[in-house]
Symmetry: C2
Subunit: 490 residues, 2 copies
C-alpha cells in the first residue's frame, strides 16, 4: 500500500489527522463531533483498559455503573461544578418520536420531559447523589469505585481522540473519612497514571498540580500528568482531583464517625480517556506511520513470506507456523500475513503504517541459510537473525523497543524543558523551540491569564519535584517561590 | 445480617425486586427508569463480559465503537426498523444550558440542534451508515464487528435488569458476501449464546426462531435462546438476527464481487444485555438469597473464622491464609472475612444472601481436629472435610455445583414443557403449572395475536429441534406442521 502521509515537518496537525484515519484508528462519523473508533484503534484502547483496570483493582477499587442521564437540577447543587460542566452539553428534552403526516419522523410534542436530562459530561453529581444512600457510617468508608463509560461534552472544534463530543473514559469516584486519606488517594491515582503512561505507553510525564485557573470545576486540588508531543505542545494525559467536601455538602453525604458524630465525607475523582490514544500517536509516530510500544501493539510481530513458487510458499509457511507457535508460547502476539492478494512491499508499507514493532521477512534464501530478516519499526533498521536465535532475539527486541521508545521520548522531553528568566526569552522559546518553558511566576491568576492572552501558553503544572527557590516573576517582576511549567497545549 | 426477604411462593415479583437490591446487585437511581449497577452486580456482569468477549474473538470478531447519538433521519431509512425502534426513545434537541435570571439552570433556546439526535436504542443504522465507507470489495468481507455499549429505550414500566430505560449490552454487526454465509453467522452466534448460557451461567435454553410477530424490526429471521424462570415465565436471553439485505439497501452498502459486479451486502446482528443478570437471579436463587454458579461468582469460596480469644483468632487466621494461598494457585477466588465488627452468624447470612458457592468455617475444634466445615450454598448442606483433602475437595465441589445447578434448572425446565392438544388444556396449564406450553399452531400471525390477547402467552420460539408432525391448531383447528412453544414471558 502507498501511504501518502503528510510529513510532520510540513504540517504536524495534518499529519496527525491523516495518520489516525489511514492507520485505521478512528474516523469521523455522520454525527457532528462524534468519532467511530475502528477495530485496530479499539484493540489498542482495550489494552490500555485492561492494564489500567488491573492497576485500579490492585489498589482496591471496584467497578460499577451509573446512569448516562443526569437531571438538570443536579448540576445546580455544586456551584463551581455547574459553571464548568453544565454549559456545552447534550440535553434530552423529549422521549418519543412519531410519524408525521408526510411520512417523515418528528419529535412528538406531547412527549416532553418534565425535567430535562443532561447526557453526563462527568458523573460527580449522579454518583454523589447515589453515595448519600450508600454511606452511613465510617464502616462504609473508604468507598473506592471506578466506572468505564462514555461521556459527552459539546465541543465546537473537534479532533479525533483529542477533542470529541463523545469520548470513552474511566472515572474513579472515591469517598473517605478524612481529608488526609482523600489527598493520599488523589496522589496515589496520579502515580498510577504516571506509572501507566511511562511503563506501559512509553510516554514520559511530569507529575504536578494545576493552578487555580486550570483546576477541575469543583476541585480543591487537581493533580495531573503532563506529556510533551513531538511538535513541542503539551498534552494533559490524566488528572486526579481532591474534591474536599464540596460534593458531600452539595449532596448531603454524611457519615457517623467512630465517636458517632456526623461528618461530611471527603472525595476524590480521577480519569483518563481515549485522549490517551492521541498522546500515543503524537509521542512516538513518524512520517512512515504509527510507532507502537510493544505493550500496546495489537500485533507485536508480523511475518511476511517472500516467494515466487508454490513450493517456496509452502516451505516458508511451515517455518512461519513453527515460529508463530514458539512465539505464542511466550505470549507474544504474532500474525502471519499469507495473503496472496498483496505483494510483500505493499505489506511492508501497511505494517509500517500500523506501527507493528517487529517485522520478520522469510524468503527462499532465508530458508536455505536458516535465517530471518527482522526489521524494527521504531528505528527502521534491519538485521539478519539465525534460526537458533530467532525466538529469544524477538522476545528481547520487544523489551528493548519498549524501553528505547521511552528513552527516546524522555530525551526529547528533557531537551524541551527550557528555563527562561525574561519575558522576551519566554516568548522566543515558545515560538522557536516550544516545549515546556520553566519560569518564575508571581502566583496570581491575573498574571497567568495575561500571559495566556499574550502567548497562548498556560501553566501546565507546578511540578511536584520542583525546587523551591526565590525568584522574580517573568512577567510582573514580583516575587516568586519557584518555577512553574508553561506550554502551549492540546 | 438479617435478610427479611419475601418468599418466592408469597410474591415472586417482590422477592426478585428485593433480592436484586439486598444482594447489592443494582438499585434504582434518581433518574426515571435508569439503574445503578452496584459493584457486586457489576463484578458478575464483568465475568459475563469477559467470557462472551473471549468467545466472540475466538469466532473471529473484533470490537469497535460507534457513536451514542443517531441523527433522526437515519431511522427513516429502513421502514420496518423505524416502527420498532424510533418511537419510545431519548431525543436530544439542544446542546447548551444557561443560567437563568433567578440563578437556576435552563435550556438555552438559541442552542437548538438543526436535526434532533436519538440516543441509540440499537446501532444498526449508524453502523451501516459507516459500513458503506468500509466495504468496497469482496476482499473487505466478511466484516465481523462487536460493540460493548449502553443503549436507551424509553420504557414506561421498568424493573431492575429486566427492563430499564438504559441498559448495557453487546451488539454484533456483521456483513457478508452471501446469504448463506450470513445465515451461518446468525446461527453460529445463537449457538455461542446457548453454549454460554448453559455451560457458563448454568441456564438451560431452547434454541429456536421467532415467528414473524416477534421478530426484530428489520430482520428476516430472528434466532433466539429462551430460558425458563422459576415462576414458569419464559425469558428471552439472547437473539441473533439474519437481516438479509435490508440495511445494505437502506444505507447503500454494495461490494464488487469476484467478477467485479456490484452486489448488496448481507447482514446479521446479535446481542445480549444486562437482562442476563435478571435471568441469572430468577433461574437459580432461592428464599435465602442469590445462588450463583461458580463460574460467575465474584467470590467462589469465603472463609469465616469462629473464635472467642485472640489466640484462637491468630491460629485460625494462619490456617485460613494457607488455605487461601493454596486455592489462589488454582485460580479459585477466595475471601477471608476476618472483620471483627460482625458475628459469624451475620456473616453466614450475608454470604448466603450474596450467593457465594462455598463457605468454609474454621473454629477452635476444627483446628484441634484438623478439619473444616464446608457449606454449599446451592443445597444448603454441610460437610466436615479434613485438612489433607480440603483443597481438592473445594475444587471438585465448585465443578460439581456448576453442573448440579445446571441439571437442577434443566429438570425444572424439562418438567415444565407441557404438550397440550386443546385450547382448554392450553389455558389450564398456563394458569396452573405455567412453563412452556407445546401446542400446534396454524402458522398465522392472526391466531398468534388472538391467543396473546386471550392468555397473555406468546410464541417464544419455534424450536430448532422440533419434530415435524401434522396436527391441528390448538385454537383454530386449522392445519399445523409442528408444535411451537408458547409461554407468558418477561
Amino acid at each position: 500500500m502507498s501511504k501518502n502521509l503528510t510529513k510532520r515537518s510540513e504540517d504536524y496537525s495534518k499529519w496527525y489527522n491523516e495518520l489516525v484515519v489511514k492507520a485505521d484508528l478512528a474516523e469521523n462519523s455522520g454525527v457532528r463531533g462524534c468519532m467511530v473508533i475502528k477495530p485496530y484503534g479499539y484493540a489498542i484502547w482495550e489494552k490500555m483498559q485492561a492494564e489500567l483496570d488491573k492497576k485500579f483493582k490492585e489498589t482496591g477499587h471496584e467497578n460499577a455503573y451509573f446512569p448516562l442521564f443526569i437531571p438538570k437540577s443536579y448540576f445546580s447543587k455544586e456551584a463551581s461544578h455547574v459553571d464548568g460542566f453544565a454549559k456545552e452539553c447534550a440535553v434530552v428534552t423529549h422521549y418519543r418520536l412519531r410519524t408525521a403526516e408526510d411520512g417523515s419522523i418528528e419529535v412528538d410534542p406531547d412527549a416532553k420531559l418534565e425535567e430535562e436530562l443532561i447526557v453526563r459530561p462527568t458523573s460527580e453529581t449522579i454518583i454523589w447523589d447515589t453515595y448519600r444512600k450508600w454511606i452511613q457510617s465510617y464502616r462504609d468508608l473508604p468507598l473506592l469505585i471506578n466506572q468505564w463509560a462514555n461521556v459527552v461534552r459539546w465541543e465546537m472544534r473537534t479532533r479525533l481522540f483529542l477533542r470529541t463530543a463523545e469520548f470513552l473514559w474511566q472515572e474513579g469516584h472515591t469517598a473517605h473519612a478524612t481529608q488526609k486519606e482523600a489527598i493520599a488517594e488523589a496522589e496515589q491515582m496520579m502515580n498510577v497514571y504516571a506509572d501507566f503512561a511511562q511503563n506501559f505507553m512509553a510516554i514520559p510525564v511530569v507529575k504536578g498540580v494545576k493552578t487555580a485557573n486550570e483546576r477541575f470545576a469543583g476541585a480543591l486540588e487537581t493533580y495531573c500528568i503532563e506529556a510533551l508531543m513531538q511538535d513541542g505542545k503539551a498534552l494533559q494525559a490524566g488528572t486526579s482531583h481532591f474534591l474536599g467536601q464540596n460534593f458531600a455538602k452539595a449532596f448531603d453525604v454524611k457519615f457517623a464517625n467512630q465517636e458517632g458524630k456526623q461528618e461530611y465525607v471527603w472525595a476524590t475523582s480521577w480519569g483518563v480517556s481515549t485522549r490517551l490514544m492521541g498522546a500515543l500517536v503524537m509521542t512516538h509516530s513518524d512520517d512512515n506511520g504509527l510507532v507502537l510500544p510493544p505493550n500496546l501493539a495489537p500485533i507485536q510481530v508480523v511475518i511476511v513470506p517472500i516467494y515466487k513458487t508454490d513450493e517456496q510458499f509452502d516451505a516458508i509457511s511451515e517455518t512461519a507456523k513453527q515460529l508463530m507457535a514458539d512465539l505464542r508460547k511466550l505470549n507474544i502476539t504474532v500474525k502471519y500475513d499469507n495473503r496472496e492478494t498483496h505483494k510483500p512491499g505493499w505489506k511492508f508499507n501497511e505494517y509500517e503504517l500500523k506501527g507493528v514493532p517487529l517485522r520478520v521477512a522469510i524468503g527462499p534464501n532465508d530458508l536455505a541459510n536458516g535465517t530471518f530478516e527482522v526489521a524494527r519499526r521504531d528505528t527502521l533498521t534491519k538485521e539478519i537473525v539465525t534460526n537458533t536465535d530467532i525466538v529469544q532475539y524477538l522476545q528481547g527486541k520487544l523489551e528493548q523497543i519498549q524501553s528505547d521508545m521511552y528513552n527516546k521520548a524522555l530525551d526529547y522531553r528533557d531537551s524541551h524543558i527550557t528555563e527562561v528568566n525574561t519575558f522576551e526569552e519566554f516568548k522566543e522559546v515558545l515560538d522557536t523551540k516550544a516545549g515546556f518553558v520553566s519560569a518564575h511566576w508571581d502566583g496570581t491568576p491575573e498574571t497567568e491569564e495575561k500571559i495566556k492572552e499574550l502567548t497562548k501558553a498556560t501553566i501546565r503544572c507546578i511540578a511536584l519535584d520542583r525546587v523551591e527557590e526565590a525568584g522574580t516573576c517573568v512577567f510582573t517582576g514580583n516575587q516568586s517561590v519557584g518555577r512553574v511549567l508553561f506550554a502551549r497545549a492540546y
